[in-house]
Subunit: 151 residues, 4 copies
């Protein structure tokens, strides 16, 4: 893993302020657990708000926190003032989302000037044990000088 | 598109019942607009529950309805009793989710015995005009004989 | 499909010259069949140079022509002087590559200033009949002002 | 990484025999460097047979060895007699393929009965230094009892 020198010493405050502005994270009940340069962790307690039709956490809810974790991991390494947008992501679902809590850990694979590649490993925590349930791979784009798009 | 002969004449009722069980769709405020063999449309009115940090609809919310639309399009062509699970999906985000409403139209590209490939075209509707904002490609798995997994 | 107004009237000549420089296409035996704004078709006759272990055309050979077809479809809509690079692609393999010939048809889904989304539909031609065997989705990047990277 | 207990003690011989049958690997000039349970490495010397139009190794050639490395990593953990097919893969290209040699290291992320998730990290080796140039994520399918499809 490389390019993890933080370009912005206030990266945690920056990510926390941006996360608070994500209405969807509040709607889902997600919270920001950890922010460090190139690494961001988001947790999501299971709730009746989240299932698909078989009672498992919906792939869309899993993808939502995994995308945010990957995006914010990328943002920690972007220059101050740049905003981050997801250009595309892919998620492989390895096992049903069953447990008390879903945790997504985003990490930067390669930080570039325009495009950053990040991955999120997603785990279900059931009776204290973690099991990997998904892997997301995302291309994030740094956007500078566009009105309304920062952090 | 091919293999679109409906294997289950009650496919609309089947999809509607399954959709109602998806807690996440209710949480987001999504509704099922149209169901026909190999084609499913889901709509999502913009609301303060859905944005990412810049005020656009969050990629995770877009992916959630696009994944459900693709999955249900696949389900319409699966044998009665089979359940559908998403094995993986990829989404390309083409433009910010800005508008009164987001619409995802899922369609089957190739229906197979075990794996089905489906795509969802996602549009933002703004002042009555549609603009494509995302394209999702999903691999859906038909699951038979597994307790708790049907439709 | 949109944004298909050709920005370069000489787009066919441009793509043909670039294709000729792709050593890999020559190695595989691929040829350029058709070039029009936003659409490029590449054909690959089956040969003992191409199989994977079961005798089907290798997914890598299928991906190679599908990536080139998508990339050149994108290039036809880029400004003169810009070079095209693949940022990422995803390919779903729907059926084994069996037949006399593989054909990849690339088309632009959304042309953007920096990023273009394109897809290639890939068919195996067997005894005169076409069967879709793969679908590739690619993000192409326009690169300007970088030495050695044009077309 | 998990589930890496080899199910077939002869996994190296099995992969070597299968690799030899891949005409495309011979065409490209690729060789099998290392095989162990859940891990396979393939090397590809740069040559005039491989470039795209700017002289870099073509994304299709990179994807070809990365797909084979991921597929064979999956095969090492499949039961004897099962054949491996790629259902889909996604590749992110991080830097141009420039160097004396390209190396793809495939590893299993999650081995399942039907579907296995594997990734390949791809490096360019230039003047003795490795630089990551791509990341491939693949879904591999175990096929049993289908004529002509084993290993």
């Amino acid at each position: 893993m490389n390019d993890t020198a933080p370009k912005d010493p206030g990266c945690e405050a920056r990510v926390r302020a941006s996360f608070t502005a994500q209405g969807l994270m509040r709607t889902l009940g997600a919270s920001l657990v950890r922010v460090s340069p190139g690494l961001v962790e988001i947790a999501l307690p299971a709730s009746p708000a989240l299932p698909q039709q078989h009672g498992f956490v919906h792939a869309g809810a899993i993808a939502s926190i995994a995308d945010s974790a990957a995006g914010y991991a990328a943002l920690t390494l972007m220059p101050p003032g740049a905003g981050v947008l997801t250009a595309e992501f892919k998620i492989n679902l390895l096992a049903p989302g069953i447990g008390e809590r879903i945790v997504a850990r985003g990490r930067v694979v390669k930080a570039g000037r325009t495009l950053t590649l990040a991955q999120s490993d997603v785990f279900a925590v059931h009776e204290g044990r973690e099991k990997q349930i998904a892997l997301l791979t995302a291309t994030l784009m740094a956007v500078e000088g566009r009105e309304g798009v920062s952090d």
